[in-house]
Subunit: 363 residues, 2 copies
């Protein structure tokens, strides 16, 4: 039942195991530990569901466990939460060989990974993502970090885990809205580089929304394989890795404009991807029929396809702070067809503004 | 007049230029910039002395400069200061290709390097150390970070600069006490791996204390060469690099015990090195005559050779938090002779406690 992929990064390569009930299999983790001691970082939502299962499995394997339970939510992806982790690690005198395990969604993964990158200038790190979004996106690729009042993910590090466990059974407790948010990133892989996967998603979206275990495992595996291939080719995001940001420049502006935590990341990415698709259409790169196919799939996945009416100036301002700015110019991830993402720094401002002016219209 | 060394770290190798008035030579920096834009991070002590010289040289070379002036002192090596840097970078929309330049001592170097490691998950970084300590120690090797209330340098990253300028003219404004603190690290290189350099220092300490420019340049160059060799062989401190921590396990306890900022780092290292020498003597590894040679050189350099009377329990407690703890056991850097540092995890606790009990005695 378990599938295993490898993210190929030379001496920082690591395996991703995908399957049901992996939380109970301490044998998947123990070979990656440098000493029989870990800190499990999780949050108040995930802890009652899965912490004791994981903790007991590890303790039965002879591993000493320090649990660190943070408040739940994107609004807590801050220095203050990071410091709660550091406080616990220092109070319990965790050492350079103590492994940090992230048990939770993307926020827990980003916080824990960044804590691992910085604590004593770097300790080992394991990801156990418990949301679909984290399983298909944030647990693969080594991006870690926190938000700053002036921008999302502005402070962080590239830091790779030693192993990732994507336990598909944890998705049974995921709220519908968060399942949909994860599907936004799944659809993204189809859009930027895998037309066959996009077509498979069109055929299987109903099964995914109904949480068919086999369909979910397949979607996770194909998504991780796509992301792993992109990351392996471009670990530090100097080139093609930027394709993974399809919908994210707009999406970050939506999240910031609506206040972090009000739109889920995947929801903002879905609406942002529709803006990227419409911009691609306006540039003559994508057909109206393809834009409709994308819209239909997002709607089937339970995702928003209309952006908030923040106003053109507000969008422009918030996109200007994005990390993808280069020499004062915004690079956009656009589509030249389904399965063919491209990076473009040459979007005429008037075309961009026309699309943003109609952001809140479903046309 | 200018000497250049290279720290050999594969694709992260970088040059160290040593000589007078390098601040004015923008041509040493410009080839390392990815865009004609830098942020110079400095402090309220260094800014009035050297900021305008550096800023004007860069501006005349067509480089846009954002100065960021922080308060001066080890007590400001905190998250709050780091955030002042992030605030300035974000407010001015600095991008991934903007280079951060550290202009100042070790605190500025550590803060700026860590900011560069984290900002947008990593931007380029240049070191211009203006104290002897920073020139011979903290500007070489890529260690960056901040203090935590529970320990010094607990949060940080290994992050290499693109180039280091050690401008010896900046030492003319250095207070005597800080010059001496820098000499503690200079002496350390002789002790751990370069007996000939130690002997040279015994002959030339008077010239160094009197700030003879040629003697200082020679001491800096030999120190940097020694450190560069150690770092090149062991970038992430998994083995021999730990030798550079001679005196530091004790020294960190002294700094923490006396309150950060009251003892200069180099002063604590000097007193801590005397404890390491006495511990080596107690273990039968070092002769009493060699301990006296070390003591004499520290005294000539204007450094303390007696530690504060913190009490054995307090020393033990504060050393237990040190990063060099492994499996609950403290690894010490000791001496098996002048020029021969060794790493030992096998110090009997009672011998250690006897030495600590006599820490405040000059015997």
């Amino acid at each position: 039942m378990m599938q295993t992929l490898t993210v190929d990064l030379g001496d920082r390569s690591y395996p991703i195991h995908i399957g049901p009930d992996l939380l109970r299999q301490a044998g998947l983790l123990v070979p990656h530990l440098q000493q029989p001691r870990v800190a499990i970082v999780t949050n108040t939502t995930v802890a009652p569901l899965y912490l004791s299962t994981l903790q007991q499995a590890l303790e039965q394997a002879g591993v000493q466990v320090l649990p660190v339970v943070l408040p739940d939510g994107e609004v807590y992806k801050t220095w203050e939460s990071l410091n709660l982790i550091f406080d616990a690690l220092l109070q319990h005198r965790c050492e350079r060989k103590t492994t940090l395990i992230a048990l939770g969604g993307g926020v827990i993964g980003d916080l824990t990974g960044f804590a691992a990158a910085c604590y004593l200038r770097g300790v080992p790190f394991i990801q156990i993502p418990t949301t679909l979004l984290a399983q298909v996106d944030s647990s693969v690729g080594g991006k870690t970090g926190i938000n700053h009042p002036l921008g999302k993910n502005m402070i962080g590090a590239f830091y790779q885990p030693r192993v990732v466990l994507a336990d598909t059974a944890t998705l049974n407790t995921l709220p519908d809205r968060e399942l949909s948010a994860g599907l936004a990133e799944v659809i993204k892989y189809g859009l930027i580089r895998d037309a066959a996967f996009f077509a498979w998603l069109e055929q299987n979206m109903t099964r995914l929304v109904e949480r068919d275990p086999a369909a979910l495992a397949e979607a996770i595996a194909v998504s991780c394989r796509n992301k792993a291939e992109v990351v392996a080719a471009d670990e530090k995001e100097s080139g093609q890795r930027a394709l993974l940001n399809l919908g994210h420049t707009f999406g970050h502006a939506i999240e910031a404009g609506m206040g972090y935590g009000n739109w889920l990341h995947g929801e903002a990415v879905a609406a942002g991807t529709m803006l990227a698709a419409r911009l691609s259409l306006a540039l003559g790169w994508l057909t109206a029929a393809d834009v409709q196919r994308i819209r239909t799939l997002f709607v089937q996945a339970g995702l928003p396809v209309v952006s908030p009416d923040l106003g053109v100036d507000s969008y422009m301002d918030m996109m200007g702070l994005d990390k993808k700015v280069e020499g004062g110019k915004i690079r956009f991830i656009l589509l030249q067809g389904i399965g063919k993402g491209v990076i473009s720094g040459d979007v005429p401002p008037d075309v961009l503004k026309q699309v943003l002016a109609r952001a809140a219209l479903d046309d």
